[in-house]
Each structure stands twice: as C-alpha cells, then as structure tokens.
C-alpha cells in the first residue's frame, strides 16, 4: 500500500528515551491533524511498546530500539516498534491482561491491553533470542479543521 510519509529512527534502550520516543512520534503525526484524544492514545501506545523493549526485551542489557511511523491513505497511522532482545516465548500469555514477568518492578501487566485498547489493530511477532516486533495501526477521524 502507498506510504504518504514515513520516519524511521532508532535509540538505545535507555528509560530516559521513553519520553523522547513519544515526542518524536507525536511531532511527526501532528501533520495528520489528529484530535487531542487520538494523539494521547498514540503517545500512550508508543510509550507502552518502547517500555516493553526496555523492561522485557533488553532486561539488564542494552540494545537498539527501532521505530517506524507511517502516514497511510485514509488517515491511517502505522507504527512499528522493534527490538533485538530476548523475545517472548508465549505471546498469547504475554498479552493477557495483568500478566507480567517483572512484578518486582511494579509492572502492572497492562502494556499490551493499553496498546490494544488505544489503537485499532495490534500485532506482535517474536522469536526467542532474536527479538520482538510490535505493529500498531490507528485510523484517525475526519473532523472539522
């Protein structure tokens, strides 16, 4: 499908970069004139995906997080967040609400639930020892301006 515009960037898996990832994605998406709510939804979903890479993918290690954002036809936003970390052995279990492998860090186990709720579509592919890729899509509403 035709890509109207795209940015790709990568960052080391430092927690201080979580806000930078949100800000970069927001500033790119603003050209599509999302509502305040849509922008908040996308920022939150990106924050969850990036945090998962840092907390779970690269736990106790450091690696690279790659983020791709595309503006697609029909006001669809495509976001891919990829790590080369430890991978998820059981994706179905990982996506269950409240499931977490890091309770000692007070992880609520709601990351995937938030991504699913705030975006229209979510897909997760993972290979143990190779990494995880999260792809999310959201169709922006057509509004006044």
């Amino acid at each position: 499908m035709e890509i109207l515009n795209e940015i790709k960037f990568s960052m080391p898996s430092l927690s201080v970069n979580e806000s930078a990832a949100r800000a970069a994605v927001s500033s790119f998406i603003i050209q599509a004139d999302p509502t305040v709510e849509e922008l908040a939804d996308i920022r939150t979903a990106v924050s969850e995906a990036v945090t998962n890479c840092i907390v779970h993918g690269y736990r106790n290690t450091q690696g690279k997080i790659e983020i791709t954002v595309r503006l697609m036809p029909n006001r669809e936003i495509y976001i891919k967040v990829k790590d080369n970390g430890c991978g998820i052995p059981d994706i179905k279990q990982a996506m269950e609400p409240l499931f977490t492998t890091a309770p000692e860090e007070e992880r609520s186990g709601l990351g995937f639930s938030v991504m699913e709720s705030f975006m229209d579509r979510l897909s997760v592919t993972s290979k143990v020892g190779r990494g995880t890729t999260v792809t999310m899509r959201k169709r922006l509403s057509i509004h006044g301006s």
Binding site: R22, T51, S108, L110
Partner: protein, 101 residues
C-alpha cells in the same frame, strides 16, 4: 517531574507535575515511599491535576503505593486526573480499590 507535598486537615496531599512513565516512576516511587514510611499519613491524596501524561507504569506506581499505605494502616486517594488519565485508570479497573475524586 515535580513533587510538592502539603498537609490539609489530616490528609497529606502530594501534588505531582509532569509525565508518569517507567522512567519517572522510579524516582516517584522512592520519594513517595520515603514520605509514607516517615509520616505514616492516614490518607495520602495524590493530586493528578498537573499530570500531562501517564501510561501503565503509573498504574503500577499507584498499586504499589496502595499496598504500602494499606500495610501502614492508611488510605490512598487520587485527585483530579485529567479526562485522558481517567481513561488509563478506568482501563486498569483501579477505581475498585482506590478512591478517584
């Protein structure tokens, strides 16, 4: 992230300003715990009116403080979250255990 603590009629009010994510939650967690353990408040109200972003890391933070306060015989309240923050709170179902005003 800024933290301001004040006391009103036996309730300790913590006013947070900024964004709550996994990165900022670490520092918040230790600051709040230090306060709860030292002051043992009956009610700890966290004022969310100046919080401009929160993801599920904030839910973990709230649940952790709820548990600590419960152990100390206190209660946790969340005050004035913005509509967008309310959506994240609602998704978690946290309003079943923590009063949100």
């Amino acid at each position: 992230m800024k933290i301001k603590i004040k006391s009103e009629n036996g309730t300790a009010i913590v006013v947070l300003s900024g964004e709550i994510d996994h990165h900022t939650a670490k520092n918040l967690r230790s600051e709040l715990d230090k306060f709860v353990i030292t002051m043992q408040p009956e009610v700890l109200a966290i004022d969310f009116s100046n919080i401009t972003f929160m993801d599920s890391s904030g839910i973990g933070l709230i649940i952790g403080r709820y548990k600590l306060l419960k152990e100390c015989g206190g209660q946790l309240e969340i005050h004035s979250p913005q509509p967008y923050i309310r959506r994240v709170l609602k998704l978690s179902g946290i309003e079943r255990i923590v009063k949100i005003i």
